[in-house]
């Protein structure tokens, strides 16, 4: 009997932010970690898929997380990876796809999961922090919001989830098991990315810092802007009230700012 949840984690080659060397991508590693934890908890099976060069040493870092096998859709670099992935997902009857939010190389537009969702007709769950449970074809998912907040949603299988940096960190990789893992290489059709060939790609220029421009009409205004002390003192000061009144004023401000709900 096939497992009820057929998970696929899409992994890419990362880029170390300082040295620029290839590494296990931060978010993709978290996606694999999430998939491995899920396959322990529920009746599921995880397969990890990479599109590109099968000789890439970084793939062994993913495999070293404790994977038995890794699938590589063999393709030259600079080609469109989307059609190969769509065919693979349809063939293997996957029903849960885990990816990072953005790749660390190439265009890093973060569009691949959205295009996959559109082509497969699946819903997309953005920036997942945790998949709490998958029961009877319905998953309960925690989304990572700004300022450390979390939102709970439910979504029916199949779906695509992009994994946020707030998800559990990827486990350590082991060198030996990584080398021993099996690589299943699948030849993939070549699809040139026509639009991207016309692009001009150069090393990033530092962005200019925004200057604080004073738009003053007269010299007096400029002088005032240059010597002005930072504005302040507009606040309300409570001195002689009782402690209850003071606390009530603070609490009212908290309510007004919707800090206390």
């Amino acid at each position: 009997m096939p497992p009820s949840v057929n998970m696929v984690a899409l992994v890419s080659v990362g880029r170390h932010p300082q040295s620029g060397r290839s590494r296990r991508a931060e978010q993709d590693g978290r996606a694999v970690e999430m998939g491995m934890n899920l396959s322990c908890d529920i009746d599921g099976q995880l397969s990890v898929v990479h599109v590109g060069d099968s000789k890439e040493p970084v793939l062994r870092q993913y495999a070293g997380m404790g994977l038995d096998a890794l699938t590589v859709l063999e393709q030259d670099s600079g080609l469109d990876v989307l059609p190969g992935v769509v065919t693979y997902l349809k063939e293997t009857k996957a029903n849960l796809v885990l990816t990072g939010v953005r790749a660390e190389r190439g265009e890093s537009s973060g569009m691949l999961p959205y295009l996959l969702a559109e082509q497969l007709g699946w819903p997309l769950v953005p920036r997942v922090a945790e998949i709490l449970s998958i029961k009877e074809g319905e998953a309960q998912v925690l989304l990572a919001l700004p300022r450390g907040q979390r939102r709970s949603i439910t979504v029916a299988l199949p779906f695509i989830a992009t994994v946020d940096n707030a998800a559990k960190g990827a486990r350590q990789t082991a060198y030996g098991p990584g080398l021993r893992a099996q690589l299943n290489v699948v030849e993939s059709e070549d699809n040139t990315d026509d639009i991207a060939t016309s692009w001009d790609i150069s090393p990033a220029k530092p962005r200019p810092k925004r200057m604080k421009v004073v738009k003053a009409k007269s010299a007096a205004d400029r002088f005032k802007a240059a010597t002005a002390k930072p504005a302040g003192g507009g606040g309300r000061v409570m001195k002689n009230e009782t402690a209850e009144e003071k606390a009530q004023a603070i609490f009212d401000l908290l309510k007004q700012e919707k800090i206390v709900r």
Binding site: P123, Q149, V155, K224, V237, A243, L253
Partner: protein
Amino acid sequence: MSDFSSDNIIRRDPRAEWIARNRLHPLHDSVVSAGRGEVRGPSGLLRKNPHLVGFIGPNGIKRIDRANTNSSAIGGKKWSAPQDVVLPLHQVVNPEGYIVVVPDMVGGRLTAHDKDILGLAHKLAGEHANFAVVAVCFGESKETQFDLAGVDRLIHLFGSEFDGFAPEARLSALMQIDAQYQPQHWLFPDSINGGADLASRLAARLGERPATQAWQVSASKTVCRGASASTDITRETPKILMLLEECGDAIDETRHEALPLDLDGYGLDYWERAESRLVDKGLIAVDPNAIPLAEAEFILSAGNGIHNWDQFHECARALGATEGASRVAVDDGFMPRARQVGASGTWVTARLYLAVGISGAIQHMQGIGQCDKVIAINTDAACDMVKRADLAVVADSEEVLSELIKLAQQYPLSIDNVSNVNEENSDAA
């Protein structure tokens, strides 16, 4: 005799001349200004008397107050209070095309990022004749200055279907806008507040290839960051753009109409038909101390003025606040080093910062520079934190904190009592 008629005789007033010579005389100003008026020189030129500029300072030295800082103190001319400058109105009548901006509207207000994008939209619109900038705003809005931010037309979509986490309903509304108005460009903030998500959904649905992390945009060329911001990609400007912060300059010299724009089929069953496969179960209460200090929304910070630390921790728990501390509290060992706010600790971005017993060393004030609202509780009314605070309470911290704990426990919907907050807080989304 006629030479000596009374009206021909120039009568000197020695006292007035004496006063006029004596700049320190109390009547000097009135005597000098009595003879003043328009004075013309021999060639008919208007003469200005430079000696009449300024005033005499307390030690008898002439002062010219060019910055006009204490004009009200001088009895002379009074400057009216800063007038409301009415900026020129930028009107677009019968627009030939549209540039649509979908701002994040964090907390129902335009963010600085949104305003930069509206400014950029006007730069793009300026390269076409008679284009209007449209802002699409979902749900409740607290923004009152759409006109000053550069919104020519406003599509404001209310309705429960757009509240909370509703990317699919929002996407179907954007598809409707695209079909009806066929905008030249769609501009989104490339942010984690939902802008990038919505833009990617729209691009995938329309089959357009968007420019992501764009930071230099003109009508023909766009420069985007790629490969985790290590490369610049120069490309033709596509229809859908996701823009980084500070990609343009916000509008500040014109006023705009912000006229409402209709959307066909709005209010009909169009959005109910849009299937919603993602079911929002609301925000989850998180442990406030698990949130990184730099991005916490509400920080209760303790300094030297705290003596009852158990009470402080209890207050943070009751209010649902992330705990912070000043350097003194950390050095004395009452709080861990990771909780220190300020120059050698964390620079925080809280929306509300409650400083208890912190007088406000400059290193600490730097750390809270980005906080929106500051509340201070301190015994010293003259300290810097009280000057910076929007609400300052001059009292002993122990009494006020115990009252605050009581209030928080009485409040029915306190965070402690509800584990799952279903009511949508748009500020957190």
